[in-house]
Symmetry: C2
Subunit: 385 residues, 2 copies
């Protein structure tokens, strides 16, 4: 379906599966189709391949294999992280819909991000109460690309946990981090991040769709949301996703291997595109944190234009960009993230999200820049600005 | 991994994906990878393909497309069917682990199946109380192959609903049927079955693993278990499983098309194998309903032998059979289904489950019969019986 001239600039919404990932999955569709719970050797061998893939994943994120729960994607992982938490929740107003929806089912404090979308450790600290059991902050914002200070936030949680322990208070407090966005470009080692739970999504890292994980440190008490056969240490029942997990492991290996190179490459491409656009189009507003921003992300607004119309005009020229978060994009409402960072309505409504990735090259980013400038200038002309 | 001489007789545990199913899925792994919620045409086209697949599924089961929730498999579907039910539950003692685990979280009545594994409509009727909100009975038992009288049970639920309505009682009562086992051989038209909720599993019908559905009649009030982006009419959030659903639809078309032929073919093969074994090996016990039994199922016991040992001996000869339900097989405990039908311990422990399917041919079933007889005779000799 990709026309040869298509320039895909929406890697934050979906990534094409890496051919090397699909290759390692293929044998498990037809040939090695056995149920990993069956007792005969070919099935035991499938189980071993599945467990090996989980070992690879554990190694990549610096966790233990028994701490990894394979799920059907980030949304399920997030729901599982929240399920069974009975206390107060702290999160921010720029989190993913599923984090906010789950937080609403609990007593909660929603910390306000600053105008760059950043959530500071200080604000998290102030929001924590004696009954707080879960803090959930994404590694990077999916719309703005702003990278959150997870290590600092983790220090706050650790200090609170220590303080509770010293005064004999057994109320647990844990930090969940949704690292779906950013795993291609940022370190997702759970020990270095200092988190207690981590969500990853294979579909955002050139792996298979509908595969995700929740890593849960062994000290965290979790309740299973889907019960039955007792798979995944009793925390997520259902026949194991063998092909998907094997693909996930390979995808994670590949992004880890190329993380430094790809991050540098995308930063250069993104910065040059940003420079081209902001120089050619005055009044342009770039959102997200100036320094702490994902390499491939460029959230850019053309005040008084219609972002949705821009998406369609650009599409006609073969350039695919997003209006906002893809999850919410089809509901015709303004993104809660843009509202959270207090972008003026005429700026917010003229926004597009450009996200670079594997399909981005020096050539197609240069071409995209030219097309963007042409179309946006035409639009400004059309509306008389 | 299948050795050319391998004879797979465990189709109830897992089925190899049909090559025609994999073929229709392939374009969605790499080429058509777009997020179906994105606004540009290639993504809209992916959404259309996804919706079309759901239309095909709806047509195959006789439901409406808006009533279908795509899940990550039967276990998730079953959990979703139970989630949000607040009243009394009626189910049977031969149901799948996930049905029993969910029932335990509610006030419940567990109806006892008869010695053939059959759950009668009369027993269900007696178990229904004024507060009963959900009845859950599988279409066919995964261990014995016994087919349940779902149409009769549906009549009981309809009568109870009518009776409640006439006396102004608004307590809902619905029938959920897990049709994971049997969809290859039995009609799964929801209107003809008369059910209110239906679970199907693509992985059991030569479709992709980790794909299932819950069909929910529009009059049923359901609570979402996984919340966030609002996909699947708000009942199951998370980016849609495009490739998986397209594969599921094709798999369902294929089994529907060949259902009559395949069912007749497998009945003949199974009956001949059963005859061969029971004639050659006296004392052999065949379990499950004599008449209402899935075409491919043969649950057979060799009293005083060790079923697990038989599985391994047969495997050495290239014949793959199950000891019991694959989900529970790896836990080394006696199957709750065999306990439910009051099989004597020495009979239950000498049981194997043979399940035929696409990989079964006249030739390999004949060979399997010969190997089974040899190995079982040897075992009887070894233990001095």
């Amino acid at each position: 379906m990709i026309k040869c001239e298509t320039i895909y600039l929406d890697h934050a919404a979906a990534t094409p599966m890496d051919a090397r990932v699909l290759k390692v999955m293929q044998p498990y569709f037809i040939e090695n189709f056995y149920n990993p719970s069956s007792p005969y050797l070919p099935a035991v061998s499938v189980r071993r391949d599945y467990e090996n893939a989980k070992h690879v994943i554990a190694q990549q994120i610096g966790g233990k294999v028994g701490e990894i729960i394979i799920t059907a994607g980030a949304t399920e992982s997030i729901n599982l992280a929240f399920f069974g938490v009975s206390g107060h929740i702290v999160t921010s107003n720029v989190e993913h819909d599923s984090v906010l929806a789950n937080a609403k089912n609990h007593e909660n404090t929603i910390v306000l991000a600053d105008s760059s979308g950043l959530v500071t450790a200080e604000k998290i600290k102030k929001a924590i109460k004696s009954g707080t059991q879960l803090v959930s902050v994404a590694l990077a914002n999916n719309e703005l690309g702003t990278i959150q200070p997870i290590r600092d936030i983790a220090q706050v949680i650790k200090a609170e946990r220590y303080s509770r322990l010293t005064r004999g208070d057994k109320t647990p407090i844990n930090l969940h981090c949704d690292a779906s966005q950013g795993a291609c470009q940022l370190d997702v080692n759970v020990a270095r991040l200092g988190v207690d739970m981590l969500t990853l999504n294979a579909g955002k890292i050139y792996g298979p769709k509908q595969v995700g994980l929740l890593w849960v440190a062994s000290h965290v008490h979790l309740e299973p949301q889907i019960i039955g056969g007792g798979q995944e240490n009793g925390l997520r029942s259902g026949t194991e996703n063998v092909a998907g997990t094997i693909g996930f492991a390979r995808a994670l290996e590949l992004v880890s291997e190329h993380r430094k190179y790809e991050s540098d490459r995308l930063t250069k491409l993104r910065d040059s595109l940003q420079k081209t656009l902001t120089e050619a189009l005055k009044n342009t507003v770039v959102s997200g944190h100036k320094k702490h921003r994902l390499a491939g992300h460029l959230h850019i607004s053309f005040p008084n234009l219609d972002g949705e119309r821009l998406v369609f005009l650009l599409e006609k020229r073969g350039v695919l960009v997003a209006t906002g978060s893809a999850c919410a994009a089809n509901k015709g409402k303004r993104s809660h993230v843009l509202t959270a960072i207090a972008l003026k309505p005429e700026v917010a409504d003229g926004s597009i999200r450009i996200s670079l990735g594997h399909l981005s090259t020096f050539e197609n980013i240069k071409t995209a820049g030219e097309i963007l400038i042409e179309e946006i200038k035409n639009e400004y002309k059309r509306v008389g600005l």
